[in-house]
């Protein structure tokens, strides 16, 4: 059964690759990237084998813990868990759940991230090639750590999906996930004040008794001859593994007979934004987008990072001049404006409503943009002004505002063109927000990189002027120039973006629709 599931996953991956050249490119790039990471990691492990025992122990424990924690938390934050083998698909077959779990866990390692993690974790044993006993211990403990990472990741996403079917719970969750990031700034600041190496050792000692770090500390215990400690850590890891498997099993048992159903939250009162905005096609598009910004959690998720960015920049700032915090305006401008690059993809096949109506591409572009700008523009202006006034030199407000507006307008322009050209699979509304779409990440990352590069190039003149204006003793005229150039250049890019993107959409609309139909 396990072998069958692994074979099924391989078949699904191969068929997916056969369907689209883009995915082949994606997996090749991902593999190259992963191979590069692996070379660095394994090289690091070899180098580490010549270091002092304490350094070896601290490094392996912390690295291993980060890998496990990454598997547990990253799916919650960004990519989602690979859903090639959706357990719900097996619900009509007579397969024992335990067998299904084991098969899914093994199949989860099949794939680029899984293989890289497997090789990386096994390579930690290389550190102890001087001590045969420790080497063997490392080779035995690493698979336990890998199993802990994979099982924990599945347990967390399956359990959380059930909780997060409720909208209120998802909002709370967003806060909970954001919290570590909020603490990251103060924590980094704290570290910079302390003697780091002493601290890392202490942290590693604590982490080594948690499920995150226990498997990785076993070999060094063997080297030191602390057999009781080694045994204890193996026990910690195994108990945690059993716990994760139990949690996954319970959550899956529930999910199999209660498929995720998002409670959309029922009813609207009257026409909402449709009644307040002008009764034109443009007004209707704006009203529809605004309604979705409020009602569709996929949009809200794209804004979660905004407060995180602001707070992190605020706390990471080394001095008390507030200079780094000045970046909050431009950074948030990019994040908010870039959000509309996924707009058509978020529509999915519902995009036909625009196609079937006599709506010009420019109306579509302008509508989506205005909806986003209705809150994006005030937010960015407030941030730019606020961070400037709170910094050591309030007069920087002029160039900072210029750069922020430049980034906002330029990003809107570029995103308007990009989303008329590229769509990629995204979660459907109401789907488990922690499931990633096959082939989604690479296509999206590729287009995102190209688009972001365009934004950087187009904003460069404004950015140069703004940086010059921020230097001590720069004449105020430079700041004013940054503002003027930022707004004017941004406006030109915006107008061109809407025009070009609209014309492109008139041409590509049916093709985008067809691509999105093929995703489902």
């Amino acid at each position: 059964m396990v072998a069958q599931l692994v074979r099924l996953k391989l078949t699904l991956l191969r068929n997916g690759l056969r369907r689209s050249a883009l995915q082949v490119v994606g997996i090749v790039l991902a593999s190259l990237y992963g191979a590069g990471l692996l070379v660095v990691f394994v090289g690091g492990m070899v180098a580490l084998s010549f270091e002092a025992p304490m350094v070896q122990r601290t490094s392996t424990v912390l690295l291993g813990a980060v890998i496990v924690l990454g598997w547990w938390l990253v799916p919650l934050l960004v990519f989602g868990v690979d859903s090639t083998l959706d357990p719900l698909r097996f619900v009509t077959f007579a397969i024992r759940r335990r067998t299904l779990l084991l098969g899914m866990a093994v199949a989860a390692v099949v794939g680029v991230p899984g293989v890289i993690t497997a090789v990386a974790t096994l390579s930690t044993a290389v550190v102890w090639w001087h001590h045969p006993a420790a080497l063997v211990a490392g080779l035995l403990a690493a698979p336990i750590g890998l199993a802990l990472a994979v099982t924990g990741s599945r347990a967390v996403t399956t359990a959380m999906a059930r909780v997060l079917a409720r909208r209120r719970a998802r909002e709370v969750m967003i806060l909970v996930v954001a919290l570590p990031f909020l603490l990251l700034g103060p924590a980094l600041w704290g570290f910079s004040q302390l003697e780091v190496s002493v601290d890392a050792e202490k942290i590693a000692e604590v982490v080594a008794w948690t499920p995150l770090g226990a498997p990785w500390a076993v070999p060094s215990d063997v080297v030191a001859g602390h057999w009781a400690d080694a045994l204890g850590r193996v026990l910690v890891a195994l108990v945690a593994l059993a716990g994760a498997a139990w949690l996954w099993d319970r959550s899956l048992a529930h999910a199999l007979v209660n498929p995720a159903h998002e409670q959309a939250g029922g009813r609207a009162r009257g026409l909402g934004a449709f009644g307040r905005l002008p009764a034109t096609p443009l007004g209707a598009v704006v009203a529809r987008c605004l309604t979705y910004w409020v009602r569709d959690p996929r949009y809200a998720v794209s804004l979660v990072v905004v407060p995180v960015v602001v707070v992190v920049l605020w706390f990471v700032d080394p001095g008390d001049e507030g200079r780094l915090a000045l970046l909050a305006g431009p950074a948030v401008a990019y994040l908010v404006a870039w959000g509309i690059s996924a707009d058509v993809a978020f529509d999915g096949t519902a995009f036909w409503t625009h196609l079937a109506a006599p709506v010009r591409g420019t109306t579509d572009r302008a509508g989506r943009l205005l909806a986003s700008a209705s809150f994006g523009l005030p937010l960015v202006v407030a941030l730019a002004v606020g961070t400037s006034l709170a910094s050591a030199r309030p007069s920087v407000v002029v160039p900072v505002l210029g750069l922020s507006l430049g980034v906002l307008l330029t990003s809107y322009g570029v995103a308007s063109v990009l989303s008329a050209l590229v769509v990629y699979p995204v979660q459907l509304p109401g789907e488990n927000p922690f499931q990633s779409k096959q082939g989604a990440s690479m296509a999206s990352i590729g287009s995102q990189l190209a688009g972001t590069a365009s934004v950087v190039v187009l904003v460069a003149p404004t950015a140069v002027l703004a940086v010059l204006a921020l230097r001590d003793g720069a004449p105020p005229a430079v700041g004013v120039l940054a503002l003027v150039v930022g707004v004017l250049l941004g406006a030109v890019v915006l107008a061109l973006g809407v025009r070009v993107g609209g014309a492109a959409l008139d041409r590509t609309g049916p093709d985008l629709q067809r691509r999105m139909t093929s995703f489902t």
């Binding site: 909402g272 006599p358 709506v359």
Partner: protein, 286 residues
């Protein structure tokens, strides 16, 4: 030869409820010697190696109730998507009342009312908002949209659910709200892909009445369906399509040639297999 029937075709439910008919926006009567409501010439479309539509020609006379029937995978949805601007044909032309759809989509799309199959709606909107959205996108003014939305919600028995989000609608209600979106701008030609799928019998009868009234008012309706019986009763014209080609087209009476449409369809399409091969399935009954 194009027909121009002034009365509902054979088999359409007699005695259309006049109040219902009056509440639903209908297309104005077609002018004399009008071009075909929809004319499709040499339509081709392939997906990868598979040719989904291989040279489809159709002429839908104005004022007709036109059925498009065919087995699964025959190319019905692909043909209708290309005829309504949702999918670009590899070759061929689509004329709506004499205007080339793909040459001037924005102008022609206003004449069409479209209900596609197998696609999502903007289902985070309430029913009322969704119809309003469709109406405003068509360029109607606020008062017209509001009045027609109220009429359509009434005619389709959705008044009680006007404020419910479409995502919480049942499959049948979703079909009905999509139909309302297709009707709100009083199109000249309605193109409906499987409008009766998942719709309960009462709602289906309501929808048939609305469509019959629409045709009686001079509009043209094109529906695709698997249900031969329904097409035979409801439509005056029919085209049988299979393997991406039109096998027969004309008035229903011409196509069925004295037999039932279902018999004629099976004869044209072929592919009946007897169930005797599955002998082992019988043992499961005891």
């Amino acid at each position: 030869m194009q027909e121009h029937p002034t009365a509902p075709g054979p088999g359409v439910d007699a005695g259309v409820d006049p109040t219902l008919a009056a509440r639903v926006p209908t297309a104005p009567a077609a002018p004399d010697a009008a071009p075909a409501a929809l004319e499709v010439r040499g339509l081709w479309r392939r997906f990868g190696a598979k040719v989904a539509v291989a040279g489809v020609d159709l002429v839908v006379p104005p004022g007709s109730f036109y059925g498009l029937v065919g087995p699964n995978g025959a190319g019905k949805t692909t043909t209708l998507s290309m005829a309504t601007g949702l999918l670009r044909p590899d070759a061929g032309t689509v004329l709506v009342r004499g205007h080339d759809l793909w040459a001037d989509p924005v102008r022609v799309k206003g004449m069409l009312g479209v209900l596609p199959d197998g696609v999502r709606l903007f289902d985070r909107l309430s029913g009322e908002q969704l119809i309003t959205y469709a109406g405003l996108l068509q360029g109607l003014d606020r008062e017209t949209v509001a009045a027609r939305t109220a009429d359509l919600l009434g005619a389709l028995d959705l008044v009680a659910d006007r404020n419910t989000l479409v995502v919480d609608y049942s499959a049948g209600m979703t079909k009905k709200i999509a139909l309302a979106c297709a009707l709100v701008h009083a199109p000249r030609v309605l193109v409906l892909d499987e409008p009766f799928e998942a719709v309960d019998p009462v709602s289906a009868a309501n929808i048939r009445e609305i469509l019959a009234a629409f045709v009686a008012g001079g509009g043209t309706v094109i529906v695709s369906s698997h249900v031969m019986d329904l097409v035979q009763r409801m439509c005056d014209h029919v085209a049988v399509i299979a393997g991406g080609r039109v096998l027969a087209a004309g008035t229903v009476d011409e196509v069925r040639a004295g037999r039932s449409l279902e018999e004629r369809f099976v004869e044209l399409v072929g592919g009946r297999v007897s169930g005797e091969g599955l002998a082992w399935l019988r043992s499961s009954s005891d």
